[in-house]
């Protein structure tokens, strides 16, 4: 964003400290605006009162992210991409996670198509308190037949509300598909140096976001983007090409980095658009399914980190999806988010005086994993969360943040002694090393649980209640 200090923003705000935004002062609101913790539109007076109109426009300009934000799809599944402001996540955070779109093609049988779309839209993986899901479907015009493509797009749109990318280099095919799903705001793929005029006509008519594509030709890519922009198109996505191996891959990385650096470090507005990456080009190189899916995941890894805002992928095997989506979640986690949860005693389910007392750390990832493993398996219990300064079990044992003394202190403060009658603690398996000391320090019986909380159900069966 252009704004450099909260003061600069404050000057343009109403300065009435009305509190409608939820902040006590306009200055506090300004500080949050600059770190993108609040949206300008949360200042109601600014939006509604005519006298602020001009200031609102100025603020909007000052706060606009360096990379344009583009929305694909409509409704609850709409996927925002781009909108980034920094080159390295620690400088602020990355904002809109890389859109993961998985392909279907118009030569699939109806049954295969339905099954695949269903798998894409129902797939989920629990992670730190929520379910990660896939973002959308990319429909490929593999047949080269516009009618067949449109028919496939129609079927997909009847099965799912997920956002779509319509993939064809044939403007006629794109047009036939748009006649059916334009109101769902699909992303068009792609305008090229050969078909751009007709695609531009379509974009003007149907008002959908569009990818401009110029494989390994940044001058050509910019030329397309500038042409579309001057024609009044704002929702542009850039495809610099994804070459899967060798020098081609090295150059592809260079292209992504140079484009994003031009947008963010140099403020070059005319190419400051989201970037599209196609890891599925791995399938053009590898014949073996596992090799191809692995290499596709390698490409997804590189370009999740280096600036792809949307990706088109092929493998929907769990061993590809789980690491891909987890990495996106990791890279797009706000680094300003606290690492630790509040320590103390938690009651999970409806514990009784016979229920076990588990010990864990206050590292957020550890805590949420343990908590979900216990609750998902309906185990009524107490969870004693030790203040390990946000460090995980293994490291905290090695680093002295999880000690017998700390457990003793937490145990006494928790008052759990009055809630259970067994005086037994279950330590994480990775803290086995301190079990003896803990027994001595606390006077409680100490049992060593599994090294992974996913095995607590098994462990319970064999070890609880204690004999």
């Amino acid at each position: 964003m252009k704004a450099k200090s909260p003061m600069e923003l404050y000057e343009l705000l109403p300065k009435t400290n009305c509190g409608e935004c939820g902040e006590k002062t306009c200055m506090a609101f300004a500080s949050l605006l600059i770190e993108r913790g609040k949206k300008l539109e949360e200042c109601k007076p600014l939006l509604e009162e005519e006298k602020y109109r001009e200031k609102y426009e100025k603020l909007k300009e000052l706060l606009a992210p360096e990379v344009r934000e583009v929305v694909i799809g409509v409704g609850e599944h709409a996927k925002k991409i781009g909108g980034e402001d920094v080159l390295h996540r620690h400088e602020l955070t990355f904002f809109n996670s890389t859109g993961l779109f998985y392909d279907v093609w118009d030569t699939m049988s109806d049954d295969a198509l339905k099954e695949r779309v269903d798998r894409i839209q129902s797939w989920q993986k629990f992670y730190v308190g929520e379910f990660l899901k896939l973002d959308g479907v990319a429909v490929r015009n593999a047949s080269g037949d516009p009618k067949r493509f449109a028919e496939c797009v129609r079927k997909v749109s009847e099965i799912t509300d997920l956002p779509l990318v319509l993939c064809s280099f044939d403007a006629t095919a794109l047009e036939e598909a748009l006649k059916i799903v334009a109101d769902k705001r699909p992303l068009l793929y792609a305008a090229t140096k050969d078909n751009w005029k007709r695609v531009l006509e379509l974009v003007l008519e149907y008002k959908v976001p569009v990818t401009v594509s110029a494989p390994n030709d940044l001058d050509g890519l910019k030329s397309l983007a500038v042409t579309f922009s001057q024609a009044g198109i704002e929702d542009i996505v850039l495809d610099p090409g994804t070459y899967p191996t060798g020098k081609g891959l090295e150059t592809t990385l260079a292209n992504f980095v140079r484009l994003r650096r031009a947008a963010i470090a140099e403020g070059q507005k005319d190419i400051a658009y989201p970037l599209l990456c196609v890891p599925m080009t791995a399938w053009l190189v590898y014949d073996n399914e596992i090799d191809a899916a692995y290499w596709e995941t390698v490409l997804a890894t590189i370009f999740t980190i280096k600036y792809a805002d949307i990706m088109i992928l092929h493998s929907i095997e769990p061993y590809a999806l789980i690491p891909q989506i987890t990495l996106v979640a990791n890279i797009y986690t706000d680094p300003r988010r606290p690492v630790a949860v509040t320590p103390g005693l938690r009651a999970l389910g409806s514990p009784t005086e016979e229920s076990p007392v588990f010990v864990t750390t206050n590292f957020a990832l550890t805590y949420y994993t343990v908590e979900s493993d216990i609750t998902s398996n309906n185990i009524d219990s107490y969870l004693l969360v030790i203040d390990t300064e946000g460090i995980c079990v293994e490291a905290a044992v090695a680093g002295g943040q999880l000690t017998a003394a700390k457990i003793k202190e937490a145990l006494e403060e928790s008052g759990v002694e009055e809630k259970v009658k067994h005086k037994t603690l279950v330590l994480p398996g990775l803290a086995a090393r301190i079990s003896g000391e803990t027994e001595e320090a606390t006077g409680w019986k100490v049992m060593v649980g599994p090294t992974d909380s996913g095995r607590i159900p098994d462990w319970m069966e064999k070890n609880w209640p204690p004999k």
Binding site: H88, R89, S122, F126, N141, A142, K193, W196, L200, L204, E205, L221, V226, T227, Q230, G232, P244, T245, G246, K247, G248, L249, E250, T251, A254, L259, R261, A262, E266, M280, T281, W283, L284, V285, D287, I290, Y294, T297, V298, T301, I302, I305, P318, Y319, P323, T326, L327, N330, P335, S376, N377, C392, E394, A395, A398, G399, G400, A432, D452, S453
Partner: protein
């Protein structure tokens, strides 16, 4: 599609183009113009053109100097940076101003917003300049330098961010060390099958890592020395180090058990028997008597691994302490801690990336090669667990394919953050990380040519 264009809009437009005042123009009431067709090529400009065409008496009165009417407006537009030529082309008007321009303009309806030609453009972006450079550290010593290794391994020397060869070529590719242990240890099934035949014999294990799996180096973890495991005495553990040095000719890394009380004695004994081999001693950290590790390295000619837990300031502190004790800058590698994909990889990634950037910006306390314990990826349950413990999860599929890819993604992510040395476990994962980092680093020419566009019509065989 129609768009209304009001007098106020015209006013704004003129203001934008720097026209402060219209002389001799009287406009009474609000004028509304309908613009038909695609609103594009700067919709404002087009609409203004249309206004000009439809209202020539107004245009002729514009106080513009460049020319009359239409071309006057265009001249202003051009000054403001609009692609006037392409607009003119689309209107069928030659670009050079001709006489009596107003009469040359085509009649309504207005031309479409789509130009005849793509706007020519050149993409350029500056290079990022850095003032710092990462130290180059040599691990291993050949006969010429008092050791017995057949080759040495150089890491670091980075001049720019990893794989930014379009700016500067970093001199050394990331290197891979494969782990072996001084006793059989429980391993995930996907890993175990590769080592089951050598687990009882660290020498054979090390040999397999190099000969069969192409490791650049071998790490021998003296894990049995842990008092809670076998409490193997340091002298005995040192024999295993000798065995490994005999078995392989590549440089080696010597790891303790991670027990802060025992490790100093273990690493001292190991350093002594490996005198002159320039091994990497893993590791010194703030929770132990790191002075003994530093001294062992100095006395016997080794490199120190300076290990901290995801904390830049701790890393600087420990490095500073080690230098004060006499460790030389070219004898230090950092391990800022590796967390697995999904289990803190974001912290590890950002921690390493920040260190690398700080070093390139000139922070000399952080300008050292970075080692990553990628084997930690196997701690992620997704890497080894048979199925998800969370009932609502979609099926996790066969675990034998999940584990190696967790190790690959963890390693590659940290390579992109700035890691220089990767301690790994699964041979397939090590091979993939090596392949991709060598490719990205510009150390690999081989390539299967593809037509990028073919992905769109590709179908499974």
């Amino acid at each position: 599609m129609a768009r209304k264009f009001t007098l106020e809009d015209i006013g704004k437009l003129l203001e934008k183009y720097g026209v402060l005042e219209l002389e001799d123009v009287k406009i009474e009431g609000d004028i509304e113009l309908e613009v038909e067709g695609g609103v594009g090529v700067s919709s404002e400009l087009l609409a203004t053109l249309q206004a000009a065409l439809q209202s020539s008496q107004m245009i002729s009165q514009f106080a513009v100097q460049a020319a009359h009417g239409l071309f006057g407006i265009l001249a202003i537009a051009k000054l403001a940076g609009y692609p006037v030529e392409s607009v003119l082309q689309s209107l069928g008007v030659p670009a050079a101003p001709a006489a009596a321009p107003a009469e040359m303009a085509p009649p309504a309806p207005v031309a479409p917003a789509i130009p005849e030609e793509l706007v020519a453009a050149k993409f350029e972006v500056g290079k990022q300049e850095w003032v710092g450079q990462i130290e180059e550290v040599i691990i291993g010593a050949t006969a010429a330098d008092g050791g017995t290794r057949e080759n040495v391994v150089k890491i670091g020397g980075d001049k720019t961010l990893p794989f930014y060869g379009f700016e500067y070529q970093n001199p050394n590719p990331p290197r891979i060390a494969i782990d072996c242990f001084d006793m059989p240890i429980p391993l995930a099934k996907a890993v175990r099958e590769h080592y089951a035949d050598v687990m009882e014999d660290p020498g054979e294990w090390a040999k397999k890592n190099v000969k069969k799996f192409g490791a650049d180096m071998v790490t021998i973890h003296l894990i049995s020395t842990d008092p809670l495991i076998k409490d193997t005495p340091p002298k005995e553990a040192a024999k295993v180090v000798e065995e490994v040095l005999q078995a392989v000719k590549v440089p080696i890394i010597i790891g303790g058990s991670g027990n802060p009380d025992k490790d100093p004695a273990v690493l001292e004994a190991a350093a002594e028997v490996a005198e002159g081999e320039r091994c990497l001693l893993a590791s010194a950290n703030l929770n132990m008597d790191y002075e003994r590790i530093a001294k062992a390295a100095i006395d016997h000619g080794h490199v120190v691994l300076s290990w901290t837990q995801l904390d830049i300031n701790d890393q600087k502190t420990l490095n500073r302490h080690l230098f004060k004790l006499g460790v030389k800058r070219e004898d230090l590698v950092m391990d800022p801690t590796t967390a697995a994909l999904g289990y803190g990889l974001d912290y590890a990634f950002t921690n390493i990336e920040r260190m690398k950037i700080a070093a390139l910006k000139g922070d000399e306390e952080l300008a050292f090669p970075i080692s990553c314990g990628v084997t930690n990826a196997w701690g992620a349950r997704e890497a080894w667990m048979k199925e998800s413990p969370i009932k609502e999860d979609s099926d996790w599929g066969p675990r034998e394919y999940r584990g190696p890819i967790y190790e690959i993604v963890t390693g590659l992510t940290l390579a992109l953050a700035g890691g220089n040395l990767f301690m790994m476990m699964h041979p397939g994962a090590a091979a993939v990380v090596k392949e991709v980092t060598q490719t990205l680093g510009g150390f690999k020419e081989v390539e299967k040519e593809i037509e990028f566009e073919n992905w769109l019509t590709w179908t499974e065989k």
